[in-house]
Structure formats: C-alpha cells, structure tokens
Symmetry: C2
Subunit: 143 residues, 2 copies
DNA sequence: CTTGACCCTCCCGCCGCTGGAAGGTCTACC
DNA sequence: GGTAGACCTTCCAGCGGCGGGAGGGTCAAG
C-alpha cells in the first residue's frame, strides 16, 4: 500500500481527532480499515472521503444513527442512498425550522425577563407570593 | 405539618416527574426536604415554589449548574440574587442569538443540499471525486 | 388480609464524544 | 545500540439531564 495513511494523518486531514475516528469505527459509522502487522490502522483515500462525508452529515445535524445508516448504504449497493438522504435532510430541515421558532420564543422570554430584572422595581406585587414562589422569572401574563 | 406534600403531589403540581425532583435534590439544585418517619419526603409550599423557579430557569435554557448557584443564593441571604440572575440571563440571551444564527446558516445549507438532491443530475462532475469522496453533501463552492 | 398506588434507593442507559491510564511502535538522533 | 519523543493501541470512565427498571417498604381502601 503506497498511499496508506495513519489515523493521525486522516484526523488532521478531516479536522477531527483520532479518538473520534476510532469512536466512529467502534459504533459502525466508519468501516474498519486494514491494519499493519503492528496493529496500526491503515486508511485509504476512500476512507478519508468517507470520513469527510460523515463529518458533513454531522455538520448538517444528522444523528450518528442516521449517519451510520447512510454510511452502511454507501458500503453496499449504491441504489437508494440518495432517496434516503433526501428523506433525512428533509426531516432535519423541518427540525431545524422548529428549533428556530422555539429559540425565537425563548429569546423573547429572556428579553422580557431581562427587562424586568433591569428595572429596579418589580412589576409583580411581591417578590414571593403566598406560596413562597420566587416570581423573578415569570414570563406569562397573570395566570 | 398540615400542608406537607408528597413528592408525587409536588411533581404533578410543577409538571415534572418525581424522578426529576429526586435528581435535582441529589445534585444540589433543590434543598433536601424533611422526611416522615418512614423516610418519605415532605414538601412545603415554599418547596413547590422553589421547584417552579427551577423549572422556569431551565425552561429559559439555564444549565443545572447555574440553576444550582441561583438556588443556593436563594437559600442564603437574598442579596445579590438579582444581579447574578441578570448576568446569567444576559449570557443566555446572547447564546440563544448565536444559536439562532447558526441554525439559520444550517437551514440554508440543508436547503441547498436538498435542492441538489432533488434535481436528478448532480451539479458536481462526478459522484465521487478522485479521492473517493461522496460529494452529495457538499455545500461550499469549489474549495 | 390483600390489592394497588404510592414511596424509597440503587445502578444502568441514552448521545457524541473526550479524557486518562497503561502499554506497544516508529522515527530521529547520538 | 540506546534513547527520547511522537505516535499508535486498548480499555474504562465521565459529561448533562434526565428516564427505565429492579427490588423493596408504606399507606389507604375494600
């Protein structure tokens, strides 16, 4: 093998730690590479490409479980990889949209709490109501 | 104690599981309540208020570590609770803003990948480049 | 007395890694 | 040949924020 790469070289090339690569292999996200007689892992350029694919998928927010499925599909017959990927990316896209909405709501609540905390006087009658609750963080009207 | 509440009642009142309450106590987020002779936890209305405070803080995204600090401050002298809370909420607010930006970028990348996956032909010359990389998920131009 | 709904403590699992320990191997230099 | 230091190997353990389940005690109703 002229172009065999060590795990450290692959790690640097892909911008991940060697530990992460071993972990990916352990959980089946990356296929097990060849080994030298001393037991060192030997990677091919294809192996590097696979790792980069995995990192891109992770960067898009796909779970390791899903990435494992995709990677396994890439190992077998290539048919059906794109449809699966499309499904996953679509799901991820809607999940991200949901998260954005949630974060928007959260930002509004935080801003409201911050306004209340900035003003020296509280907008609520007492710091603790009759049930002993600290109302500093309330964001809902009345209720 | 006329108004002593069991952990289950408190859990239902605050909308959390009894397990979560026990966990909060274990990690120091909630003070340890009294116990009956049989070892059952006995909560006061103040205890319920504290739990609701903790849940609100969590709902705002504060970490349990920060919530623990706030809760400890509420147990001691009340001075300084509001400034600390203000600092934490401000930090959380900027963290949320950062996350929103990141999610926005991510959404754009996902949409781009999806567009590419939808079209039957790829915009890249080959499915795998010479290094064996699957480029389905690329989002950057050239590079 | 029994049933069923509570309560208790304990340890393990999830995700996506990261850290450390303890040891083998490779390369460079003397 | 020796040795230093950088690399590699495996295994075990931990993070946050809980949840599941085991294995047992307690309490009120029938």
């Amino acid at each position: 093998m002229a172009h065999a790469l060590t795990i450290g070289q692959v790690a640097q090339a892909a911008g991940v730690s060697a530990r992460t690569i071993r972990y990916y292999e352990q959980v089946g996200v990356l296929p097990a590479p060849g080994r030298t007689t001393a037991g060192y892992r030997q990677y091919t350029p294809q192996g590097v490409g696979r790792l980069i694919f995995v990192r891109r998928a992770r960067a898009l927010g796909l779970s390791l479980q899903n990435v494992r499925a995709l990677s396994a599909a890439l190992d077998g017959p290539r048919r059906g990889v794109r449809p699966r990927l499309r499904v996953l990316v679509r799901a991820q896209l809607s999940a991200v949209r949901r998260q954005r909405v949630e974060l928007q709501v959260l930002q509004g609540q935080l801003a409201q709490v911050l306004r209340r905390l900035r003003s020296p006087r509280l907008r609520v009658p007492a710091r603790r109501d009759q049930s002993g609750r600290c109302r500093c963080l309330d964001t809902d009207r009345g209720a």
